[in-house]
Symmetry: C2
Subunit: 624 residues, 2 copies
């Protein structure tokens, strides 16, 4: 519970927090020694900081630590997990005995924190992401008009990650004064001392340059820690940074400040000596084996169906533009939606949402790692984030997406300008790997609509759907294919050309779906019929349903995608058919093989093998 008092902490309070810090250090060492692995020295440098948070500054409901009225803590230096678990236990979230199950197969207390654990909002362990998550939580609190605060603990090694400074700039720019950073500067990285070691002024200047109210303290002086936390809480109009000089392994002379102790548990004999030096043992009962794993994780809140989209069937519309219209329609019935863009809102059309709901739109600027981790923080406070940039630039945030999946986060990502069809800008702006990237994300949904109507329906589906949802949109205008009554189940696909004489199945999406339709029309006039499938949902796939289609066309299959050969539509479909026990009899994969370059969209589709002409040629070849 929060114990802040205007007169400052009493010496009894300081003493109590000191004892908690001692207990946290002991538990960190004991649990890692028992586990045979872990990072005790990384925990010991932050014991006073974390004790100050959990037993002085933060307001936590141990029965509902992830609830909207609890202050939030993000352990950005995730390898200090034992310290966090000890703090949660000492705060009453689960019994102390549970801490000793660290890293065991059957324990929810994993090597690095995940939201399986009450009190944890986002998985950490890949460094440099926690400040962005914290900023997302802070925005969420602000949107909820909640007085709760967000605290984040950074390590100094991880402050080499550029994302930390993306997040700091964002927090400073948006004046997130409900956000406090604690930086545990213990001078030692994993393999050697950090770049700046104990030059605290470097860190002070960095945070001050991002408009943080910053101070430097001795991170092991509890009175100083508590006073700094009080000052942070009282600061208005700017986020705060408490840069703490600390010692890795503080408290045990045999490891304190010494290299080569990163990620090493203390052998048993050393542990005994450490316990002595730290003032003697604490009592930890045997663990009865009951799990405290969170029973349910947040799901996106339901909402009433929005107004139907309305498109003139005669006017082509780009799917990237339909995304913007979709967000706007959804914004009218779902106040949890928050959109963030990487300075491309005019290209991805999230500006349509911004113009309608400016208070629910945030400019992320050109910083994609921050963009995605912000979304993770937002959804942990019940928001429904939609983050957008060019699809190729989402590759800048792949680790963030990976960690979002470990966080069991519900986030929606829109990547525009997919493939070579963007034309003259050239390959640096062409996403050709994003289907592979997003397919290889646990529990993800990968959607690739071919017209405005399906784009709108799928965007709506994303807002209801848990997990990592990825929407691939395209730059060029495309013909309207569907009416407003059409449904788009997930998994699912649409058969857009079909006859009893179909000699092959052609599966495409986005621009290649339209090329396939052109090819079908060309072939028809030559007396050959093909079945054309719009694979608007690339993951998950219904292999059995696809197999039926392929079987009906003599087992002859062509897939065509504006994407590299690897990991996209072709491999997804082959995999699904193989698992359904129904591999195609004859198969041709059309995809981009060579490195593309600038040119008009139509020139490129043809030069790189995915145009209507190539599809028709493949059909002739496969049916000859």
């Amino acid at each position: 519970m929060s114990m802040t008092s205007p007169a400052g902490p009493s010496s009894a309070t300081i003493g109590a927090v000191k004892e908690k810090a001692r207990r946290l250090s002991l538990l960190s060492m004991m649990s890692t020694t028992a586990a045979g692995s872990g990072h005790p020295t990384s925990c010991m440098s932050a014991a006073e900081l974390v004790a100050g948070l959990f037993f002085y500054a933060m307001k936590i409901d141990p029965k509902n630590p992830n609830g909207p009225d609890s202050d939030r803590f993000v352990l950005s230096k995730g390898h200090a997990a034992p310290l966090l678990y000890a703090a949660l236990a000492e705060a009453g979230v689960f019994p102390i005995s549970r801490v000793m199950t660290l890293r065991e197969f059957s324990s929810e207390l994993e090597g690095h924190p995940t939201p399986r654990i009450p009190g944890v909002d986002a998985a950490t362990g890949s460094l440099g992401q926690g400040l962005s998550v914290a900023a997302g939580l802070a925005i969420g609190a602000r949107l909820d008009h909640s007085p709760t605060r967000v605290y984040v603990l950074l390590g100094d090694g991880e402050m080499a990650e550029g994302q930390i400074w993306e997040a700091a700039a964002f927090a400073g720019y948006y004046k997130l004064d409900n956000l406090t950073v604690l930086a545990d500067v213990n001078a030692l990285g994993q393999s050697q001392p950090t770049m700046y070691q104990h030059d605290l002024e470097v860190y002070r200047k960095k945070f001050e340059s991002e408009e943080f109210s910053t101070e430097v303290i001795d991170g092991h002086d509890v009175a100083a820690v508590l006073a700094a936390l009080d000052r942070a809480k009282a600061t208005k109009g700017r986020p705060q940074a408490i840069v703490a000089r600390t010692v890795k392994g503080h408290g045990f002379s045999q490891v304190a400040g010494k290299e080569h102790w990163h990620g090493k548990p203390l052998p048993k004999e050393m542990l005994s000596r450490a316990i002595e030096e730290l003032g003697g043992p604490i009592d930890v009962p045997a663990d009865p084996g009951k799990s405290y794993e969170r029973k349910s994780l947040p799901k996106p809140p339901d909402f009433i169906p929005p107004a139907a989209p309305d498109y003139d069937p005669a006017k082509p519309v780009a799917t990237r533009e339909a995304y913007g219209f979709a967000l706007k329609r959804l914004g009218a019935v779902n106040s949890h939606i928050v959109a963030i863009s990487g300075d491309v809102k005019n290209s991805t059309f999230s500006e349509i949402f911004q113009n309608a709901y400016p208070d629910h739109f945030y400019q992320g600027y050109i910083a994609e790692q921050n963009l995605v981790s912000l979304a993770v923080g937002l959804q942990a406070r019940g928001k429904v984030p939609f983050a957008d940039t060019f699809a190729c630039f989402l590759s800048r945030a792949y680790d963030n997406v990976r960690m979002a999946a470990i966080s069991r986060a519900n986030i929606n990502l829109c990547g525009s300008h997919s493939g070579i069809s963007i034309g003259e800008d050239g390959p640096s702006q062409m996403a050709l790997e994003d289907l592979a990237m997003f397919r290889a994300v646990h529990g993800s949904t990968v959607l690739y609509p071919s017209d405005a109507m399906s784009t709108e329906r799928l965007t709506e589906a994303m807002a209801r759907r848990p997990g990592i949802n990825y929407l691939r949109t395209s730059r060029p205008k495309m013909a309207i294919l569907y009416s407003k009554d059409e449904k788009f189940p997930i998994p699912g696909f649409k058969v857009v050309r079909k006859s009893e004489q179909d000699q092959a199945t052609v599966i495409g999406a986005g621009i290649t779906l339209h090329e396939a339709i052109k090819a079908a029309d060309q072939l028809k006039s030559a007396g050959a019929a093909i079945r054309v499938i719009d694979l608007y949902c690339v993951k998950p796939l219904d292999g059995k349903a696809l197999a039926e289609q392929v079987k009906a066309t003599g087992g002859r299959l062509i897939t065509v995608e504006d994407h590299w050969l690897q990991g996209g539509i072709g491999e997804a479909v082959l995999g699904a058919l193989a698992r359904a026990g129904a591999p195609p009899a004859k198969y041709r994969q059309l995809a981009v093989h060579d490195m593309p370059h600038s040119g008009k969209s139509e020139e490129l589709l043809d030069a790189f093998g995915i145009s209507a002409g190539h599809i028709a040629a493949a059909v002739r070849e496969i049916t000859s």
Copy 2:
């Protein structure tokens, strides 16, 4: 040619550079109008800066602008490509007429720069990467004891990218005084003004905090630009930053400083007015259509075979450790090798190389984006870079890898701690998507050795092989499988268990190869024989050769990988077999389906479906 003079530039010199700047602005506008797309206003803000570089400060051999004796320029704000092309043309690298072919299908002058163009070392266009590339070039020059300098032009929008600050910290830490940054602060991003607009002091402080010798100038005052370049060149012991206040669209009043002109070419009527305002037209002859594409791109230099690796066949060794030994062996015969680590050299074992060749090792600290782009810069100066981190953290650098491929770069990346076999650290440290990630990179080679001997031979092969080479290593010790006489061709695989009675083929790699061998031994004692294949090379694949093996075992195939279901070994093999016209008759894919957690390595392999027991069960099922 470099025109610096101790007395400072004469007014004639200043006048000449001014005229060049005028010409560069005109050519930028003219070429983008002709192309119908492009970013003229982004070029116009930097015309004086780039003119000062190309026609005063830099020493460029127009016949060999990528040669070791030319100063180097990296256009980090890659969308200002027309400006660069104009400068290269005015410097005599190719005719001015070629500039007007911008963005055409048949022109090497693409929408964003690539190394197809003489004078360009690395592709840019994904923002925030150029300072890292420049730092790599600077280190390369230093290692060559070359007096050449490296210049990089940043935009202000892109300085929101955290990677810029990773690179700046690195450059400052390593005192790269042959590196000069020019920052074009024109206050306008793509979709709206930048975060700091014309608050130049913010940028000054940021660079100063990274130990850059920094000054702020008016970026359109040529005399000031040249004087600043002189001071930069004279600075010892620190990199330099020239922060320039500029105006987007400078020179043409109808766009200068106005929003909504990002990425928009001037319509023809506006162009005429602009040409007038900029002092009148220049003569540009019609282009005869001759390409100036670089005839050959750098390949890794050859080297004599190193001493053979030497392993006691009875002692298991982790492939991650063998990587370190391999680098050391190679370092003895290849002085071009430079190793960089993301603060994990003691886990990835690149420290073995560091201890032997400390001058050829750089600590990258915890900053993976910088790590990979540094490698791109290094190889452009003929170095053979080997960069390492945990495989899962390479996902932090996916956009950098993507751009490295567009750069036709020759880089070697080692990702350790692959898969669930790492054990207790848990999923944040487990790479389960890296095979998918690296397969979907143009021209990449993906290697996944199962023992120390093959690791060493494959690392050696990487040093000779152009393109993006990825080596996936594992944490646990593994038995030695091969002798020093074994060869490992690319593509290729090893059949490690074979008989005439093989009922199925099992393909694995790394930890799963050893599990497959265990399964083979288990099954053998029950009277069933399986063929076991070590897929040490996941890409490229020889589909025909694999098909022969599968055919010889009745068309029954199992793939087993410590990786998600998507995009890895299973899908790669299925794709290769399908393209060879030989899909398996029966197929089972063993991979990681569910989100893993902490636990002992063996517990996890079994719980997540990829252990020997699961392989044996799959064999029994597929052969029943």
